[in-house]
Symmetry: C2
Subunit: 152 residues, 2 copies
């Protein structure tokens, strides 16, 4: 198979929600799946850090540094998935996401800023400061979940 054919096939197989003519034309249900995937992985990498900051699992600086670096990437991923076209797709997203979009954007920014603080703290090597920064991220998770997500 030549490279162009291979890439076309892959683009179809992997990006089945993409029309490949514009970035904005991802299907709403695919956008919901992608943003939920980002949240799932934020949970994967934040979960153990939350446990460490709460004293429920032994603190491991190397794990925190690694998880924080991946959370950095993940903290950027969900937001374009909250497109207005997804309003009618079944999910836990509340209408306030679109009705109070400035407040929602602020909550995203607070989370991303807190993750950046955690990344810096985790590189600094101070356990207490790093645990405090983990707590800071946790608070900003709640900032979105309390106001923009159905109670589970």
């Amino acid at each position: 198979m030549n490279m162009k054919l291979l890439l076309s096939a892959l683009a179809l197989a992997l990006g089945s929600g993409y029309t490949l003519t514009a970035f904005s034309q991802v299907k709403p249900d695919v956008m919901v799946k992608q943003r939920q995937a980002a949240m799932t992985l934020q949970g994967k990498y934040f979960g153990p850090m939350g446990g460490m900051a709460a004293g429920k699992v032994p603190y491991r600086a190397d794990v925190v540094t690694y998880n924080a670096s991946l959370l950095d990437a993940l903290s950027r991923m969900p937001w374009d998935g909250f497109d207005a076209s997804t309003k009618d797709v079944k999910s836990a997203a509340l209408p306030a996401i679109w009705g109070e979009s400035a407040k929602f954007k602020q909550a995203q920014d607070n989370f991303q800023d807190a993750v950046q603080s955690l990344v810096r703290a985790s590189k600094g090597g101070d356990e207490a400061a790093t645990k405090a920064a983990i707590g800071g991220v946790g608070k900003t998770c709640g900032g979105c979940h309390q106001n923009f997500r159905q109670k589970q």
Copy 2:
């Protein structure tokens, strides 16, 4: 709510698959959900690049650099989810993952190496080289999907 309580609540809410006593005790169905989430997001960020390399969407160097940087993080995420404890969870994963684990590991490494090459190429600013590197990543996606994943 004090910080310890907040963090405990968050750890429970976000990391519901974690026992919080050991990193290895994530429930098998949660591990499958997490690794599938990583693949979903690899599709999100690779899809448009595949389209560009195939000439189906206009090339945008800034998008490639950004997507490649996120793919870098995502390329590290699925693999610990292929734990032997997940063998019986329904998914497209083939038994060869555990039966030919050295070959599976090699396929992971090939993918991660190709993503690193793409990250470097995307920073270099040479469109043709970057498109070739996108193709290189695409080939290594196939390296896993052909041998270790049920045909869809």
